[in-house]
């Protein structure tokens, strides 16, 4: 049995399909679960992308009739929910699952069966959400996905305003997937604390492990209130509760607090792993150690803490007192400091290096520029009075897409290309990778640079149509054109993954001449990861191995 399982997945095509399927469905191996998470995320990325495209076609000109308001409202609700909960989160968990044990020299996660349980909870949560397209109206009629917006402000979610079951599908899918997220987060934390190989004290972990530890801590703290709020909403809808029922003395503002006390740390749940990818990839392609490892760790943990205290900057317009608004301006702007440190440290890592522009590095460079801009528009939004104009407009939509696409998705693409050889055993196609990068970055900037403008000109988000004469028309045309570039780029990306999986050059265990432990084992790694558990003396064990004359542990 073990001999069979080692031969992943290049040579195990000889096994019958049902046998292989059974193995994937029942697996508790962290690498397979990681790949399941990632594959699941890619599937939902396509779905969320289709929804975005439908919205952009509808908005390409004023008073367009491509879809009805009802359909448009479902599209933006499903797009947001899908992209956050069923694309970004599974991507983050997938890479963490795959990489953390390998990078800390462990043979699996701490709780392999909890790991499988968590993945399947997330997967079923996603399926539940999409089942709403046929089951949403229940006995009321034909079907309909939720249309309450991805942050589902009360009391729009009350039975009065959302009859039928579309909102229930939204609530239940987030409840179910939330349990999966918490399970995986606990698993990551335990793995990092308990499963490190000999010599790997916390201060010698790869940055990716540190950042995922912070991410997992945030997931536990942030997803729990969301899960609680979903339960409260269910009590309101079906058991006569009045938590958010404003007509019976409940509080709509309380939902906002519950949602954003999840929602803002969630941004960092997603972006901290993006930082993690950048912190592993940029050094390797600059041929230099990460600059200022201790301060990078400190900045990350600092971001984690501060991010728990900024949630109400999503609520500057809901009528908080001037003192509360002022406090949240301060906490929000404070987060710019550790974030700025990170950007400067990446810059210093590149400085004096020898950069090779392989696809993973190209995406990381795109990330650096875009994250800079996203941070600066974030400061504009953090100045509460400016936010009174900008929030809920297309400016804020452009801002958070700069974070989620420009930073998180860009580094996720970088991570795909960087670790694809490890995961599949084969190299991706570099030419297709470059096509993907250039098409995507052109599309990204067409869409999200120009999306800031209609927001400054008074265009609110979530409107299915608009009148001519507001000065918004031309900007919306450009934004929509960019969407098609991005869609084409993503198709090239998926094609590259599939083609390279079957036809790519054999990669070998260390194609990038990299320095962390995952590159010391075969590609793909055997089920048990390492024949003998490694022992490390520094943050870059493979550097020490390759440069015995000048090892890192002399300096750390």
């Amino acid at each position: 049995m073990p001999a069979e399982s080692i031969a992943l997945p290049l040579t195990d095509t000889a096994r019958p399909f049902t046998s292989r399927l059974h193995q994937w469905v029942t697996t508790v191996d962290h690498k397979r679960l990681g790949l399941l998470y990632i594959g699941f995320a890619l599937l939902f990325l396509v779905l969320g992308g289709v929804e975005a495209t439908i919205m952009r076609i509808q908005l390409i000109r004023p008073l367009n009739n491509f879809v009805s308001p009802q359909v448009f409202n479902r599209m933006f609700t499903m797009h947001g929910t899908t992209m956050i909960f069923f694309v970004a989160m599974p991507l983050v968990f997938g890479f963490a699952n795959y990489l953390v044990p390998l990078m800390i020299g462990a043979r699996d996660m701490a709780f392999p069966r909890l790991n499988a349980f968590s993945f399947w909870m997330t997967a079923f949560g996603g399926l539940l959400l999409y089942f709403s397209f046929v089951g949403g109206d229940g006995l009321y009629g034909g079907g309909g996905a939720p249309d309450v917006g991805w942050f589902a402000y009360a009391p729009l979610t009350a039975q009065t305003f959302s009859p039928g079951h579309s909102t229930d599908f939204w609530t239940l899918s987030l409840l179910v997937s939330g349990i999966g997220s918490i399970g995986t987060a606990i698993n990551i934390i335990t793995t990092i604390f308990c499963m490190r190989c000999k010599g790997m004290v916390l201060g010698k972990m790869p940055l990716l492990a540190w950042l995922n530890l912070t991410m997992a801590g945030l997931v536990v703290l942030a997803v729990s209130p969301l899960t609680a709020a979903q339960l409260m909403l269910l009590v309101d809808r079906y058991m006569g509760g009045h938590f958010f029922d404003t007509q019976a003395g409940g509080s709509a503002v309380m939902w906002m607090h519950f949602f954003w006390v999840f929602g803002h740390p969630e941004v960092y749940v997603l972006v901290i792993p993006a930082f993690a990818f950048a912190s592993e990839i940029i050094p390797v392609f600059s041929r230099k150690a990460i600059f200022g490892y201790p301060i990078m760790v400190a900045a990350t943990v600092c971001i984690g803490f501060i991010s728990m205290s900024v949630w109400a900057h999503h609520m500057f317009t809901v009528g908080m007192s001037s003192n509360a608004n002022t406090f949240f301006v301060l906490s929000t702007m404070a987060i710019a400091v550790p974030t700025g440190i990170k950007i400067f440290n990446w810059l210093a890592t590149i400085w004096g290096g020898q950069i090779t522009f392989k696809t993973p590095m190209l995406f990381c460079i795109g990330f650096l520029f875009q994250f800079l801009i996203a941070g600066l528009t974030g400061i504009m939004l953090g100045a509460a009075p400016f936010d009174w104009q900008l929030t809920a407009s297309y400016f804020v939509v452009a801002h958070f897409h700069y974070v989620i696409v420009g930073a998180i998705l860009f580094t996720a693409f970088a991570a795909f290309y960087y670790w694809f050889p490890k995961m599949s055993g084969r190299m991706y196609n570099e030419t297709l990778g470059k096509w993907h990068f250039w098409l995507f970055i052109i599309g990204f900037h067409l869409t999200f640079d120009f999306m800031h403008v209609p927001g400054l000109l008074g265009m609110p988000r979530r409107i299915y149509t608009y009148e001519p004469g507001r000065g918004w028309d031309i900007w919306n045309v450009i934004v929509t054109i960019g969407t098609f570039f991005q869609a084409a780029a993503v198709l090239i990306f998926l094609g590259n993954l599939i083609w390279s999986y079957f036809r790519g050059k054999v990669a070998g265990s260390d194609p990038w001449d990299a320095w962390t432990l995952e590159w010391s084992t075969t590609s793909p790694p055997p089920e048990y990861n390492f024949a003998t558990i490694p022992e490390v003396k520094s943050r870059r064990p493979l550097w020490d191995l390759k440069h015995p004359e000048d090892p890192d542990w002399q300096y750390e």
Binding site: K288, F344, L376
Partner: protein
Amino acid sequence: MQHSTLRFVATICTLEGITWADTVPFLSPTTIFAPTSTPAQSIFDLSLFVMEVTGAIFAVVFSLLVYSVVKFRKKGAADGPEPAQVYGSSQLELAWTVIPVLIVVVLFLASARVIASIQNAVRPADAIEVTVVGHQFWWEYRYPKLGVVTANELHIPVSDPAHPTPTFLTLLSADTDHSFWVPRLAGKTDLIPNHPNSMWVDPHETGLYLGQCAQYCGTQHALMLLRVYVDSREDFDRWIQQQSKPAHASTTVSEGQKIFEQTACINCHAVAGTVANGRFGPDLTHLMSRQTIASGASKNTIGNLIAWIYNPDVLKPGSKMPAMGLSVQQSAEVAAYLATLR
């Protein structure tokens, strides 16, 4: 192309009663960069400062990034020696911690000052008071001191900076969350059920100011449009006087009025002085004094009124007003009656 676009915008603006001067910045009547009221002006001033600071940061970091990416690209042989390994520098890291802290403190203080000046402004005794009630998907305006109730088109007086007559809005909601956003007058403030909010404006120029609901409130969030008419003091007083009068009193009851009063119309709509006293929909007592119907979604013409009464979904799909099953003929008669409500 450019020219025809401009002319098109100009035509629309003329239709909307907006002068060219209003639309010059970015050709938009809803730009945040053409403030005409103190809250919008202080936000605008702050935004310029914030954008100068962030712009400067952008220029510096962007240049450094471009420089280092170009300068430190790999040259020479594929397997030359590795570059010198640098593990960090306490001085540098201290520098790029302390400088951002200083910038943050400055931006924070600038923001705090504007927050206080807008949120803690004193309400003068003679301020105009309006209660705004957000409904799915229209606006109700009540002037409690002046005894006026109207819908969808807000009239307020211009405020002379020397003798300010600001308007204070109390923001309520009848159902879901909404947000009142007229960018040239002020930032947005949400209307939340069971959570009264307030905001104020003191427009310095007369004219029509556009905006729309900025918090997703349901199916027709998109066509919950805002129209604020800033009148000269005399025009405003005249408007108040006209709105305070009872409905048009006719000696004979028209066919349209009969239909209106015998169907469910009166459950939701009010016409002062008649049996119609519903409160779920807009007050129609002075309907013809308004330029638009359906919360700004359509011009107030007899044709649109007929279409709206016959089937509201034609003009605004998903609006809460039901089609009453009237024939086109009956709809036309109701419209003819409504056309007498001046």
